[in-house]
């Protein structure tokens, strides 16, 4: 192979989704960080507009007919009913006009009405999104803690048994089909061993805490309902761990290579030669530099967690946005699908923005580009 010199491009996680847009124009003036942040926010706004366009185009230019998906057989046979249904949902207008109406509604926080639940999409989402954020948030915390710890251990014990074992385990982690693992975990721990609670967010006998944040764990703690809190944590544990397995594997792999890369640097050798204790070298010299690629991957990992929720929520009957997305996608409930696309794309966008900002905060070189 003659290409070995260029391989690192495929090896590293690649720039964060928006990083490719980073122009080289901006010169460092008085407030490089502020300029950097402003540019990232502007790009995020552009992308957000792009997301509205993509969700709209996707849900409209594809050959599925929402009338066929929502009306019964008999109603479909009657052209008048179909026409009336299309008019009610604004589907009789030309597409650009539909898009403008949709965009205007969005600016007023109006996501339209779900054709299935006959409720405002924003209301449906307000109920489902917190449940998913609670699940994905718990999973990303678990993944970061375990993934980074495993990766550091693997790098420090390079080529020893621990390293090889962690490599196999992390590869298994990224190879397990999430939906299958969820099913197996549910069967083994709930059905057979009966050590975990069943589906849903809290035990059916308990009354839900008054909604403040929408997160069952936080709300129950705020209300001082500790039995509900314990139940909510118990219900969260298995799906969050199932969801986290993939990202733990991913983060272990990337942390290992990031730490190895830094360990080979001259300044680490110098610190070691100076006789600094291993802990100081690891936390102050190695981990800080290694954090940049790790954070990038963690941002991408959050996206895969949001994806995974669609599959995990189905098994654990978790009333989140994943189930809502699935239901609205299969019934071609266009306003709901667009709403899900917007909100999930928006959440992902915010995460990537945070990643970019952290990037700039941790690594001053990024700001200068």
């Amino acid at each position: 192979m003659t290409v070995s010199g260029d391989v690192s491009g495929a090896d590293t996680p690649g720039p964060p989704p928006a990083a490719a847009q980073r122009g080289g124009r901006a010169r460092v003036r008085r407030h490089p960080l502020a300029r950097f942040l402003l540019r990232r926010v502007l790009i995020a706004i552009l992308l957000a507009w792009g997301i509205t366009l993509v969700t709209f185009v996707l849900t409209n230019l594809v050959p599925g007919d929402p009338a066929a998906a929502n009306l019964g057989q008999r109603a479909l046979g009657d052209p008048a009913i179909v026409a009336q249904w299309r008019q009610e949902h604004g589907l009789d207008k030309p597409l650009p006009q539909q898009y403008l109406i949709h965009l205007g509604g969005l600016l007023h926080g109006d996501l339209g009405t779900s054709q299935q639940s006959h409720r405002p999409v924003s209301q449906d989402l307000a109920e489902t999104v917190p449940a998913t954020l609670e699940l994905a948030g718990a999973a990303i915390v678990v993944s970061l803690v375990l993934g980074v710890a495993f990766g550091v251990v693997a790098a420090l014990r390079r080529d020893r048994l621990t390293d090889h074992a962690l490599r196999v385990l992390s590869l298994i982690g990224i190879s397990v089909p999430t939906f299958w693992l969820a099913l197996v975990a549910f069967y083994v721990f709930f059905y057979r061993l009966q050590i975990t609670p069943g589906s849903g967010r809290i035990d059916p006998g308990l009354t839900a805490p008054p909604p403040v944040t929408g997160l069952a764990t936080v709300d129950s703690a705020l209300a001082g309902q500790w039995d509900v809190f314990a139940s909510a944590v118990g219900h969260l544990l298995t799906p969050a761990l199932v969801l986290a397995l993939y990202t733990i594997g991913l983060l272990t792999r990337f942390t290992r290579s990031a730490v190895l890369e830094v360990l080979g640097q001259d300044y680490v050798r110098a610190a070691r030669a100076k006789g600094l204790p291993g802990r100081v070298i690891l936390f102050r010299y190695v981990l800080r530099s290694a954090l940049v690629p790790i954070i990038t991957v963690a941002g991408l990992a959050f996206g895969s967690l949001l994806s995974g929720t669609v599959l995990v929520e189905a098994i654990f009957a978790w009333p989140g946005v994943g189930q809502y997305a699935y239901k609205s996608a299969t019934t071609l409930d266009l306003p709901a699908v667009m709403g899900v696309g917007l909100v999930v794309g928006g959440v992902y966008l915010v995460i990537n923005l945070i990643v970019d900002v952290l990037y700039g905060v941790i690594d001053p070189r990024v700001r200068l580009q």
């Binding site: 059905y191 996206g303 949001l306 999930v344």
Partner: protein, 281 residues
């Protein structure tokens, strides 16, 4: 031509991955001779536990699960390979154009790629698959929509790296057409890393494809597709074997390709390759 296996490949993980992947390819080819029963025939006792005669048990319609898992390889593996090949082709071509031509071509292609990256994959693929209508072909198209940008991005970066190199410029000065220059000078220098990415991606593609089928947006019954078979197992929860074996099939195929891809990446990465060579000496 006798070539020795590179050092990096003489590793247990690569060997295990290679053997398992090869075994599945053989199974896919030889399923009609290997399977003890007709995968669609509903003539066995229903929901029989694994035992002699039907080693993986039977499902709720009295079909032999072992035979269905073996036949499933014929559905999932060729489709996944085709899907990855298509993603490489589409993404690679678009990425090469973006990197080679630059300016508005680059801007347009890469902004579209950014937009696809702005969505979590399963959700975007699910929307596309649902809109196109549930079928395996449409599921492949849906995964293609979310899979090509990764290749576009990597290829673009690599093309940018070689575009200004002397041998490419001298080719252009010798009067090579754009396409000849791309084909003769640029392409050979970008294929390696793209192929590594493709090997690593086979597993992800299969996971996504079977995930869509699991949601009912891919293979239709009675097709013995593994994801759809796991979904069938959800309905008969206490007969664990119905979902377990097709799930293990997905796991082993994905794991095999991830073992291979991981080793391949180490072998092609100059830094790790050097470390491996030093160890081998």
């Amino acid at each position: 031509m006798t070539r020795r296996l590179p050092e990096a490949w003489r590793q247990p993980l690569a060997i295990v991955g290679g053997v398992v992947a090869l075994a599945w390819l053989v199974i896919a080819l030889a399923a009609p001779w290997l399977a003890p029963h007709d995968p669609l025939a509903q003539d066995l006792p229903r929901l029989a536990a694994p035992g002699p005669g039907h080693w993986f048990g039977t499902d709720q319609l009295g079909r032999d699960i072992l035979s269905r898992v073996l036949y499933g390889a014929r559905v999932s593996i060729p489709l996944t390979l085709m899907l990855v090949a298509l993603s490489v082709l589409v993404g690679g071509l678009l990425g090469a154009c973006a990197g080679y031509f630059g300016r508005w071509v680059d801007e347009t292609i890469m902004r579209v790629a950014d937009l696809v990256f702005a969505f979590p994959t399963v959700i975007l693929a699910m929307v596309v698959a649902a809109a196109l209508g549930a079928s395996l072909t449409n599921a492949v198209l849906a995964v293609l929509v979310v899979a090509w940008p990764a290749y576009a991005r990597v290829t673009r970066g690599l093309v940018l790296g070689v575009r200004e190199r002397e041998f490419v410029l001298s080719g252009r000065l010798l009067g090579f057409s754009v396409w000849r220059s791309l084909r003769v000078d640029v392409l050979p220098n970008v294929t390696g890393p793209v192929l590594v990415l493709a090997t690593l991606d086979i597993g992800t593609a299969l996971l996504l494809l079977s995930g869509l089928s699991f949601l009912g947006l891919g293979a239709k019954p009675p097709s013995p597709e593994w994801g759809a078979m796991v979904a069938g197992g959800v309905e008969v929860f206490d007969s664990w074997w119905v979902a377990t074996f097709p799930g293990l099939a997905i796991l082993t195929v994905v794991l095999a390709f991830n073992f291979l891809g991981d080793t391949l990446r180490d072998a092609l990465d100059p830094r790790t390759a050097r470390a491996i060579k030093e160890r081998a000496l």
